[in-house]
Symmetry: C4
Subunit: 367 residues, 4 copies
């Protein structure tokens, strides 16, 4: 990595940016090395970061041919809401790290592309700044250490027209990220988060108590908090980060309405189960009508198809849209979404599937 200044964001999309992989190669030039390390890196030796990508290669596609696709479309329905396509934007905080306009640019692009956007608790742009009439937005909740401190966020999400609450459950402790620690990355001191303090304050721990178990673990959400959350909002609640089928079943029993199968982009726990594998296992453990969303490693239209074939109703992309944001702001985000959506549509055509409902495991071969 050179010591030169990062390039400024572009104002138009060069012709050579044709795939999400191209955007990754481009974005590294627009970010400082420590921010790039924070964005692209993950837990420990980044084995899970790599496997989130490589797992898709082991899943092979068996196309069907000669079907009539002239009435085809990519739409789906979730919790009574129509979505034009299944490519959603995963919650990512602190987006002003990547582009001066941060989440404001992302929300604009998502709205134009009718891509459902899951706004992070750690957003630099407040919920009330988003278009209240755009129905394609959900709110991601990081537990604020108590029900009292978490409740106002839920209320605002309802007030400003968000259509679901996604609570992240896989990060009671930050991941141990070798690369990020070597780069000594830290958030800018003056960064503003309208909805949360940057660091949740920990409870006091006596000298005889364990700093981690008796301290930080006290302020992480518990199953009864999930039960409380479900009862205290009109919105559907989804858990993000579930990987164990027993957790999946328990969540549904408590009234959770959907799950996002994710290993947090490999940023929290290295060598976790591949989320595609977890998706398939969990799908087999739940009633067929429980919506599962998939998050992790999506880079191509074929990846979207595979996740849907293995049980997902929709997918979330994370780093790729930030690569678009760093490269060209809202324009870059929109182009990333459009690129992936067009690849997915072509994949549907080549697979002989006219609607999302037709996509299932019969189209999959495992090598």
């Amino acid at each position: 990595m050179t010591s030169t200044q990062p390039l400024a964001a572009l104002n138009e999309i060069p012709a050579y940016l044709q795939t999400l992989l191209d955007y990754e190669k481009q974005a590294v030039q627009h970010l400082a090395p420590d921010v790039w390390g924070y964005l692209s890196g993950g837990a420990m030796r980044e084995i899970s970061v790599g496997q989130n990508l490589s797992q898709f290669e082991r899943i092979q596609l068996i196309p069907r041919h000669l079907n009539d696709l002239t009435q085809g479309n990519t739409s789906l329905e979730l919790f009574g809401q129509h979505y034009p396509h299944p490519i959603f934007l995963a919650p990512i905080g602190h987006q002003q790290l990547f582009h001066p306009q941060g989440e404001a640019a992302t929300t604009l692009a998502a709205e134009v592309m009718q891509s459902n956007y899951v706004l992070s608790t750690f957003t630099n742009t407040a919920m009330d700044q988003l278009n209240p009439h755009n129905p394609y937005k959900w709110f991601q909740l990081y537990w604020q250490g108590s029900r009292e401190k978490s409740y106002p966020l839920i209320g605002q999400a309802e007030q400003y027209g968000f259509k679901a609450i996604v609570i992240t459950v896989d990060a009671p402790h930050v991941g141990i990220r070798d690369r990020e620690r070597q780069l000594a990355f830290h958030l800018p001191n003056d960064m503003q988060h309208p909805h949360t303090p940057t660091h949740i304050s920990f409870p006091d721990v006596s000298p005889s108590e364990h700093k981690l178990f008796n301290g930080l673990m006290k302020v992480s959400p518990k199953w009864d908090d999930i039960e409380w959350l479900v009862k205290n909002t009109q919105l559907p609640v989804l858990l993000k980060g579930v990987l164990h089928p027993a957790d999946a079943k328990k969540a549904i029993e408590l009234g959770v309405q959907g799950l996002i199968i994710s290993n947090h982009g490999g940023r929290i726990l290295d060598t976790s189960i591949s989320p595609l594998t977890a998706l398939e296992i969990i799908k087999d453990h739940l009633p067929a009508d429980i919506p599962l969303l998939y998050d992790g490693g999506i880079r191509r239209g074929t990846d979207v198809f595979k996740a849907l074939a293995l049980g997902a109703s929709a997918v979330l992309i994370g780093r790729p849209y930030i690569y678009g944001l760093a490269t060209a702001g809202a324009l870059g985000v929109a182009h990333v979404i459009r690129t992936l959506l067009e690849e997915f549509e072509v994949t549907m055509a080549l697979m002989g599937t006219a609607t999302l409902k037709e996509i299932n495991r019969d189209y999959i071969y495992r090598s």
Copy 2:
């Protein structure tokens, strides 16, 4: 890749061209970089291009010894026609891209080598230019958007002595080819295709309609077109590109007489099922007497043997004969075929098999 001019085609075969892999290394020197990218590349990240080759390494041979092979030969019969050997030439269009004589050179070489040649709809040489007395030729049909526009091609194929119709069904949309797009490859504006317009015109799409599903998909062939085709030609009809056993069964029920198991050289859908795997699965789903042909990744005589052992009656080679064409025109194509055929004959001898009919899965071990 250097910016120097490509080498002119050779007039004789240098001694160092001894295998099809040697021809690949040679051909790159005779073609412009964008044409080389178009020829050697494939869909997306070219994972399927690579797997078409590597899949053969997982299939191991168990030779038999001490049998009497003195009456051995490589001949086969298909649809009542005798073929001296099972190495056919796959349909590849626009061959003037690779050598000024294009398909004219290929047809000459194929005839000399008694190799059955499947002429592409996108040929630069018209059907009536081929030797009408050479029985080793089939015609590949790209659907022309309607029965009316497709019918004349079928009529000509019958008129000029082609022995079968091969309709390609796996490419209702062109593959998304990263490398080719980066190289901005396009066909020369003045290229002549005697049997088809270079681009089939799409139906008009209203603003509310989906450009892909309501547009392009309207002009792709459907199952009832296959049924119509079978009923409207005296020639046997084969489907090329079938990978799913359910499609294979349906095709046979509709009167299709043979299948070419292929993933289009990895050029259409990346990470598709390996065609050798599909061959074996489909073989198990069909009556034993339905001819299956295999296309994809054949480079060595051992590869031919493996495809036959897993259920193929014959194999098609694609890029390798174009490597021969680019290197040395008709002479190169003929030498490529001869090289592969001799390797296959030696493989038969080393495997202890005297005829194609003896070759079966008993000679195979999977590692």
Copy 3:
């Protein structure tokens, strides 16, 4: 490897030493090439050295979420003795090779970190030099060629407060180490071992006898020596190096109280069974209450978790703490232990497990 002098050991821990892998990269700079080869190398081509590390990647973690961990801790009980955490130090001899203070530094660090230390027979520091009041210490016995010569060591271990005897059974002959032999590594002539001669004297062999089988094998321990050992000490006896389930069962029948599953860091027999695999197999062959300890390739907190999930009560680290010793003496050893322990605690939190007893195979997925 350069010919420059090795760096002197550090007096403080630089900020960039954040993981055990960092210590490996650092330690090579503090040791002469032949000592580094001796320390980091292993038997023959070092395939087992590599697999001891890579085996952990095939074991994936399935985290649980939202459990209440506020009463969590890392303690365990073994043979009636309480241990604050399950990270033990494996027996390694000749530690003055790596730092002038040798085992004296290691014992200090182990005591500070409350890490159970298994002192090698080949220690450069005598047993009576260790703190007699520190309960976290075991003694490793290399058989001294006879019961008579071995007995005094057992007596001293009891006298100086060691809590268990670990007898190493997997090294009746030194490993054939290609790298070490090429480097012509040998112990310094003047090195002092207070408890053993550097080389056990072999019995005389007549010309007609086999030097290995009739010579060296005579002085290696036999099953009846183990039986004798168990009967002649009040301390629990553990066998180190067991990999075959039949040996594991026989040992328990003879009164051995625990096993250390180990392939000696890949230093003795190349291409041995991966010790994680052996751990799981042996766990299935023994009563559940027999303590199994795991040794081999532990580098991350996730590795500790995996070994425990597959059946270990505690783990031993070897080379990593020597990397700490070579880098910064007692300070380095302590920091290595602390680093690994903190990673393990975070892993427990991320896995949703509050105590060691909760950790089992339900948290594991094999890819």
Copy 4:
């Protein structure tokens, strides 16, 4: 590869030659590039050459401990003959290519090391030049095109004290070796083979006949030739190159007394079944008392142990002893054998096995 002259053979063994792998790195310096390519290379892309080595890594060892090995030895009995150890020398022809003394040096080393030597039909040294009193020698027969031409060789083998006839059955046609062909290797014109013409003359083929099937295949041995051979010699007959269990069973039914499981060092048929796999399969198909010998990829004492554990009575090494021959003549061959034998003895000790008969699959784990 440089254009400098190959080094002359050494007169003593340098200290750095410690393993068979060291000899490979050394030998390349003592041979001309084309001879090195002929010796080290194999069929086509040399996939089988590589797999003959890598297959051993997938086989893991599970050692036993604490057994009494003081009566251990490495001897075996085959066809009523005692052999001090199970490391035999495979038949390799034309050894004057590698050292001026050729087979004369090899036979001397084999005799000193009591290693059973299988002399090739293509030897440059006649059978009568070997020590008639050395019982550790077998004769390898290449079929001479007819019974009449082959019979004299059998007679001489009996006359000069050879203890078995090994007939090679896997090479009715020479392998297609890409590397060797690129190097244009050929035998020196003036090379003397006392027992065979360099090229067996082929029968005349009429223009309508197939050169391979109707020509060369006529002069290759058939099953009834094997039957004839068994009946026309007092010596035990072994087939070399058998890989298919049906061939193995047929051979035994016809009176063949042993088999050498081999893929000819990967020199004949690329991507053949790994010979270790074939050994195990064939062992399961035959009565337990039929001796199977293993040939292919043995480089370490652990490899010898693995082959024996999977069913071999003894193993043959090929290229490694030629590496010794090229490096230092008879001295090099002897040192290669001694090195491998010592590694095997240490492996037996570390595995807890006192005799060859104890070595079986219970000591093996497959990863």
